[in-house]
């Protein structure tokens, strides 16, 4: 279990995360929803062990995560960022992107890596014939799938998706989310999805945390409908989502 205990993070006088405690259950999908600036992404970076909290601690199981052992932490937690294009090295080919964690984290030899790369491509429905293309030559959807393949290559226990589905068109988003649902069942990996989109949250979540101004204001376990939200702010988010849906129709 990945746990945050009283995590606090400030940037200057601005408190991004204000004493948040939460748990990511193994083999479950946890979603954090909230509007922009609510501290979701900061929390995602802290949980991915790439940023240090000012106070509080991150626990992996019973032991406190130590940033000094970064490499072993990467086998436990992986992060998929919002902008796939900018989160991939433009100098690399798609194969090199997947190859790096297989070599550095999984210690596979060349032939094992080639085989595993093909398997990962099939898992995320990334076209194998595009493996030698530079990442800049891939479409947005292919870049996103590549980011997911790179993250699952390390066979982590937890994958954090930080607004990873924003900016995708509705069809592609649904397609990727469905693929992720299947992947989670196959891989037995826990997902933490950071999003401001309640539809994504409801579609994926086993547990939803609603975040506002650096605080968790509501927790929903196994939500069935938007009516499960009780807090006024959460209801506002639901109304905003409904308004958006109506506007789109």
């Amino acid at each position: 279990m990945l746990k945050a205990e009283n995590v606090m993070k400030k940037y200057g006088s601005q408190t991004a995360v204000n004493g948040v405690s939460l748990e990511l259950e193994d083999n479950a999908v946890t979603v954090i929803v909230g509007e922009s600036g609510s501290g979701k992404s900061t929390l995602a970076r802290i949980l991915s062990l790439i940023e240090k909290p000012d106070s509080g601690r991150i626990l992996l199981g019973d032991t406190e995560a130590d940033r000094r052992y970064a490499k072993s932490n990467r086998r436990l937690v992986q992060l998929v960022m919002q902008n796939a294009a900018s989160s991939l090295d433009p100098h690399q080919s798609a194969r090199q992107v997947i190859d790096e964690p297989l070599k550095l984290l999984m210690n596979l030899n060349r032939s094992q890596r080639t085989k595993r790369t093909d398997e990962l491509c099939d898992m995320v429905q990334f076209p194998r014939d595009k493996l030698n293309n530079k990442v800049t030559e891939l479409s947005g959807g292919q870049q996103k799938r590549l980011c997911i393949a790179r993250a699952i290559a390390a066979e982590p226990q937890y994958i954090i998706f930080d607004e990873a589905f924003s900016g995708l068109d509705v069809t592609l988003r649904r397609c990727i989310l469905t693929m992720l649902k299947k992947l989670r069942a196959d891989l037995k990996t826990a997902f933490l999805i950071i999003t401001h989109d309640l539809d994504t949250a409801m579609f994926m979540a086993d547990r939803i945390y609603v975040m506002r101004s650096g605080n968790i204001i509501e927790t929903l376990d196994r939500p069935h409908s938007f009516l499960d939200f009780k807090e006024d702010y959460s209801k506002e988010l639901v109304r905003a989502a409904e308004y958006k849906r109506q506007a789109l129709q």
């Binding site: 991915s48 790439i50 970064a70 490499k71 990467r74 992986q78 992060l79 960022m81 902008n83 900018s86 989160s87 991939l88 090295d89 433009p90 100098h91 992107v97 790096e100 964690p101 550095l104 984290l105 980011c147 790179r150 993250a151 390390a154």
Partner: protein, 272 residues
């Protein structure tokens, strides 16, 4: 990148000029019609002829041959100099900028101190330190110029290390050294190419400037700057002796500058 270079006339022109200089440098013995050092006082200030295509100088030496060999001498100093500048500036700036914090602050303070000293003054102070004149020139110019280049490289590295893909590299298990070598340097490499190709023209001019001030290679060496110095006293009677090496310096410097500037445009996403 190669396609973009071939589509840009400025880059093609600069590349052709650079290749001409390198070709002349490499094939000097085959191209030179005469021995560039051979003195023939009976033939001094000879008019251009079949034997001496550009005539002779005040010692009766073939000007064309001296200009051709001059490319070899000038470039054999300029290239190691820019290589030394590149190695020092990339190594120091990349490590310090990537490490950040106190290391980077220390680097900025040291570079500010170096930048307060005019490069030509630093180079002039150091140029007599070694027995070998060529080595003195290489070391003194590198010592004077590394900091200006290192500051630019530092900016590139800082900009690059803030990009989101660096986080992805860490997630993939890359060590800090691997991130620098396999990710940051390949991504800033086109910019470095621009920096050092334009820098090479500056070095060529600086070497010639040294010779002009009497701090360059031994008098009489077939080197463009030294030829300018020799011709200094003959500016009114035989101005062509100044014009020829001056044109060679201009040609080489312009070639590297044109190519460097074109590369800059190509690397700039707004232009490329």
């Amino acid at each position: 990148m190669i396609h973009k270079i071939l589509r840009k006339p400025q880059a093609i022109l600069g590349l052709l000029m650079m290749l001409t200089v390198f070709a002349v440098m490499l094939f000097a013995p085959a191209l030179a019609p005469n021995d560039p050092e051979k003195i023939n006082i009976m033939q001094k200030f000879a008019e251009p002829s079949e034997q001496y295509p550009l005539g002779t100088d005040d010692m009766g030496r073939c000007i064309a041959s001296r200009l051709i060999y001059g490319a070899r001498v000038s470039m054999s100093i300029a290239l190691p100099t820019i290589a030394a500048i590149a190695v020092i500036s990339v190594l120091l700036a990349t490590v310090c900028a990537y490490a950040g914090g106190i290391v980077d602050k220390l680097f900025v303070i040291i570079s500010d101190i170096f930048m307060a000293l005019p490069p030509f003054l630093v180079a002039m102070t150091l140029v007599g330190l070694f027995e070998s004149k060529a080595l003195s020139i290489v070391i003194s110019i590198a010592a004077a110029m590394w900091v200006w280049n290192a500051q630019v490289v530092r900016t590139y590295v800082i900009r690059e290390k803030q990009k989101p893909y660096i986080i992805t590299c860490r997630m993939s298990g890359c060590s800090e050294l691997r991130i620098i070598i396999k990710h940051i340097i390949p991504n800033i490499f086109p910019h470095l190419l621009v920096l050092y190709s334009t820098g090479l023209s500056g070095v060529i001019i600086m070497i010639s400037g040294f010779a002009f001030l009497g701090l360059g290679l031994e008098t009489g060496t077939a080197e463009w700057g030294a030829m300018l110095v020799n011709a200094n006293k003959l500016v009114f009677s035989h101005p062509e002796l100044i014009v020829y090496p001056g044109l060679c310096i201009l040609f080489a410097a312009a070639g590297f500058n044109l190519f460097g500037e074109a590369l800059r445009d190509i690397c700039d996403p707004k232009e490329g």
